[in-house]
């Protein structure tokens, strides 16, 4: 994880909000929108010229009482889906959004299947099974013995 070649200074500029709720939304929006020019930074962290412009635009739109959706739509109209760090749910992103849940479900079904087959084996063998199979236990013992023998 080496860091090289990108803007070196943290982006800091100063906006005054009369309403703390708007300031919160400002930070949230700047966090969720990607700077189109940068390597991989949101527009809050980037110091690129375009990121500054977009921050100013968000600031202006917030002060003009636009809601979050209007602001996000404004950005997408101009820069495309690329600026959204949270991709919209649509057929192309179904796998992205529903995949993890699906895999989890699938995994748990497999676990249930495994348990059922193992439980059967468990009932068959009652409770007398050593934790390692006999052959394995012997092999392990033999191995450890030779090792200790060598040490002495």
């Amino acid at each position: 994880m080496l860091l090289s070649s990108f803007l070196l200074s943290a982006a800091i500029d100063v906006y005054k909000f009369d309403d703390p709720e708007k300031e919160k939304r400002f930070h949230q929006l700047a966090f969720e929108l990607r700077c189109p020019k940068c390597q991989n930074q949101n527009i809050a962290d980037s110091n690129a010229e375009i990121a500054q412009d977009l921050r100013t635009k968000i600031y202006q739109m917030l002060n003009a009482d636009k809601n979050d959706n209007e602001i996000v739509d404004y950005m997408v109209e101009r820069y495309g889906d690329f600026v959204l760090y949270e991709p919209r749910v649509k057929p192309q992103t179904y796998l992205l959004w529903y995949g993890p849940g699906l895999f989890l479900l699938l995994g748990l079904v497999v676990v249930v299947l495994i348990i059922r087959s193992r439980k059967k084996a468990y009932n068959d063998t009652h409770n007398h099974e050593p934790s390692l199979s006999n052959s394995e236990a012997k092999a392990l013992d033999a191995l450890l013995k030779t090792k200790q023998g060598k040490k002495q």
Partner: protein, 178 residues
């Protein structure tokens, strides 16, 4: 467990490797314009050379044009300028300048020194037209058809090769019309 299932990891990996291989020939930083096949945004801005004249979209509708986003603070624009002059001299397509977040004096000086390939220049001091257009740096070059629809965008220095591509695109429209 059927043995076939054991091949699933291998299969998934092959699919993944296919995508990765494809990925090597894609530039993740090349961003297509969101305005492709959409009308050029409406605007009303002063001309660079004639500050009293207000330019709008109507000033270039009716024929295919190139809109070139440039600024004096942009070193690659200087590099690109030569190519723009070449295109202008062929007379095949008019070039409209979009002087982006610049200072008027410096821009005029630049045109005087390096030559002026532009029919006229839109002076976008605040960068608001640039924002509407989805510009994220200069230089950028847009190809518009006669209806003012954005057909293509180049980001970065326009090369001789890009110009050849552009010409082909314009020819393509003509042949459709005929």
């Amino acid at each position: 467990m059927p043995r076939v299932l054991l091949f699933i990891p291998l299969l998934l990996f092959i699919i993944l490797a296919g995508f990765l291989w494809k990925g090597l020939s894609i530039d993740p930083r090349e961003l297509p314009s969101a305005l492709i096949d959409k009308p050029f945004p409406e605007f009303s801005l002063a001309s660079l050379q004639q500050p009293d004249r207000i330019l709008t979209k109507q000033d270039f509708l009716g024929q295919p044009v190139i809109v070139n986003v440039w600024a004096t603070w942009c070193p690659s624009c200087r590099q690109e300028h030569e190519q723009l002059l070449v295109i202008d001299q062929t007379g095949e397509i008019p070039i409209i300048g979009l002087n982006y977040k610049d200072e008027r004096d410096l821009a005029l000086q630049w045109l005087q020194q390096l030559g002026n390939p532009y029919q006229f220049n839109i002076f976008d001091e605040q960068g608001m037209l640039g924002l509407d257009l989805g510009v994220y740096g200069a230089p950028e070059t847009y190809l518009l058809d006669a209806q003012g629809i954005v057909r293509h965008r180049y980001v970065g220095v326009l090369t001789a090769q890009d110009w050849q591509e552009l010409k082909l695109m314009i020819k393509g429209w003509d042949s459709v019309k005929n």
